[in-house]
């Protein structure tokens, strides 16, 4: 039998772990509950059919949804191939090279780098020379946020492909680039897709890099050369405003954004888990 004091110490560790877990979960529940309650109250069909309103008016977020979708898609088109190529270099061609070691290291830092700095970088790169904000600059900023995520997950997915597959193909005389493109990519496909989808979920909610690149646009604009409305920046501006209608729209936007991001995350994890079995 343990003496009482030691029993208490044992119980204290148990209690500490339980309390910490409860502390972590409470916030998740609280934040999701608030977003759902406030967002559902503001959810109307006009959210998806009308433009962002002027102060005091009623309207929807159609132009913001459109702008976000366009920028995220362009970012995917720009960032995914580069990310997969760089990840391929790390896992395949450059596996033991010094360049691959350095890039792998820097990539992990880029993964956690402050996104506001990326926004300012693209401002200096694309907005200041052009003289105006643009949806295209926003897409570049999002692509830079996406890049390290795709590099990392591609690298990891390809490293999981057993070496025997490479060796077997080599033995048949298949050139290295075909081994990678026809065999290794096929084997690592689910991992790469998982990474791209998680990256998509991440950039869909990014706000800071869009503040100085895409900015915002109260009106309908389909042009990537112009400032482009987008959900995160609209939420930011409306939530910071003193108008109740704007607050309601911000909550509705927050609900749609959260549902999209968390839904995508859960779906990807669910399928990744099933794929591993």
């Amino acid at each position: 039998m343990m003496p009482l004091r030691r029993k208490l110490a044992d119980g204290a560790a148990l209690l500490f772990a339980l309390a910490a877990t409860a502390f972590g979960l409470i916030w998740l529940v609280w934040i999701l509950w608030t977003t759902m309650a406030e967002g559902a109250a503001a959810l109307t069909p006009s959210l998806f059919t009308q433009m962002t309103p002027p102060p005091g008016g009623s309207g929807g977020l159609l132009n913001a949804f459109y702008g976000s979708a366009v920028m995220v898609l362009v970012a995917l088109v720009l960032g995914t191939p580069v990310g997969i190529a760089a990840g391929t270099y790390l896992a395949e061609h450059g596996r033991h090279s010094r360049l691959a070691a350095i890039v792998g290291f820097i990539n992990d830092i880029l993964l956690s780098a402050p996104s506001i700095v990326i926004g300012l970088f693209v401002y200096e790169l694309a907005v200041r020379p052009a003289g105006h904000f643009s949806g295209f600059a926003g897409a570049i900023a999002l692509a830079i946020i996406l890049l390290p995520i795709v590099v990392r997950t591609t690298d990891e997915a390809l490293r999981l492909v057993p070496n025997q597959m490479r060796e077997a193909a080599f033995a048949l005389g298949v050139p290295a680039w075909r081994i990678t493109s026809r065999i290794i990519y096929k084997a690592g496909l689910s991992g790469i897709v998982t990474g791209v989808l998680l990256g998509l979920a991440r950039i869909a909610g990014e706000t800071a890099p869009l503040l100085f690149t895409a900015l915002n646009n109260q009106f309908w604009s389909a042009s990537l050369a112009q400032p482009l409305a987008n959900v995160p920046v609209v939420i930011f501006q409306y939530a910071m405003s003193p108008y109740d209608q704007w607050h309601a729209l911000a909550w509705a936007g927050a609900l749609v954004l959260t549902a999209f991001v968390l839904g995508l995350n859960l779906m990807v994890r669910f399928f990744a888990r099933r794929g591993n079995r």
Partner: protein, 319 residues
């Protein structure tokens, strides 16, 4: 035996070189992006650095009208919120990792682990909105008056908890930041706790150790460098977090000893003021702030990565 037709060595060496070149070019691009960001921040901030020199870091002036800018208050706000966030997040993350590796029944580990990971998936703008509309009023109504009443009169730490309970301020921002970095520290801690050889823990149990002793004398010492790496990783995230802090920190260029008062951080100052900066010097000062932030987070994240790599080398790549 010849390979199947779609794998035939039709265009061997030249295509191989091209493929290698393209992938290596993409890898270089990762370096170029990071280097480019650093150079463009230094270049964009040069006017501020030239004008104010070292005083830029030490001065608490922030006066757009007379064109005097100093980074002291945003630096203080960034460091204070990040450090308090760590004080909250580190013990909580270690507790959660302990729960997920040793205490929870097996069927509960995956769902709770995933729930904690979801904290990292929630966009930071949602944290900010929730912080502004729900959490700040909660702090103002329930937590801050209590803190002022219990701790405000104490010597030394008393001044930290004085002032009107307005909800918006350093403490609220720190708590929100702490919540946001919990999943990052937990993820690393859980992985390395799982990698502690069970023979070590079993030996401790056989000697009659309590759970507390196993955690403090076996698990934590064994995983020390990874945990330190995880803390640095969380710090790197906290330093650069923008939107959540922008909502609840108050954007006030005041230096107050109280944690209940509004303040500013580097990221929040840039987010709030950059599009309104109407002079070259103003804009340059904000970019100079971004440069400082970039350098500090780079160093912190390097330290994190090096600590975690050391663990990877000694225990194999399994983590």
């Amino acid at each position: 035996m010849s390979p199947p037709p779609h794998l035939a060595p039709s265009s061997g060496a030249a295509a191989d070189r091209l493929f290698r070149l393209v992938t290596a070019g993409a890898a270089w691009l990762v370096l170029i992006v990071l280097g480019g960001a650093a150079v463009s921040m230094a270049w964009g901030g040069r006017l501020a650095f030239e004008t104010f020199g070292w005083r830029f870091i030490a001065s608490r002036d922030w006066d757009p009208v007379s064109g005097k800018f100093g980074a002291l208050i945003p630096i203080y706000g960034t460091l204070a919120t990040s450090i308090i966030a760590l004080l909250i997040a580190v013990p909580v993350s270690i507790g959660i990792a302990l729960f997920l590796t040793d205490i929870a029944p097996r069927w509960l580990r995956a769902p709770i682990g995933m729930a904690i990971e979801l904290l990292a998936a929630i966009p930071s703008i949602i944290y900010g909105m929730w912080g502004l509309f729900v959490f700040a009023p909660f702090m103002a109504a329930h937590v801050e008056p209590w803190l002022t009443g219990k701790l405000g009169g104490l010597p030394v730490i008393g001044p930290l908890f004085t002032g009107p309970p307005i909800g918006i301020g350093l403490l609220t921002a720190s708590v929100v930041l702490g919540i946001m970095i919990i999943p990052f520290i937990t993820a690393v801690a859980r992985d390395v706790f799982n990698a502690v050889p069970s023979s070590l823990k079993e030996a401790a149990v056989a000697l009659g150790s309590t759970r507390w002793e196993i955690l403090s004398r076996v698990t934590l010492p064994y995983t020390r460098s990874a945990i330190i790496g995880a803390i640095f990783l969380g710090l790197g995230r906290a330093l650069g977090e923008t939107m959540a802090v922008t909502f609840v920190l108050g954007n006030a260029h005041d230096l107050s000893p109280s944690l209940l008062m509004p303040s500013n951080s580097i990221a929040a100052a840039i987010a709030n003021e950059f599009t309104e900066a109407d002079t070259e010097l103003y804009r340059s000062s904000l970019i100079a702030l971004a440069f400082l932030l970039f350098v500090v987070t780079f160093l912190v994240l390097c330290a994190a990565k090096l600590m975690l790599m050391r663990v990877g080398r000694t225990h194999g790549r399994s983590q």
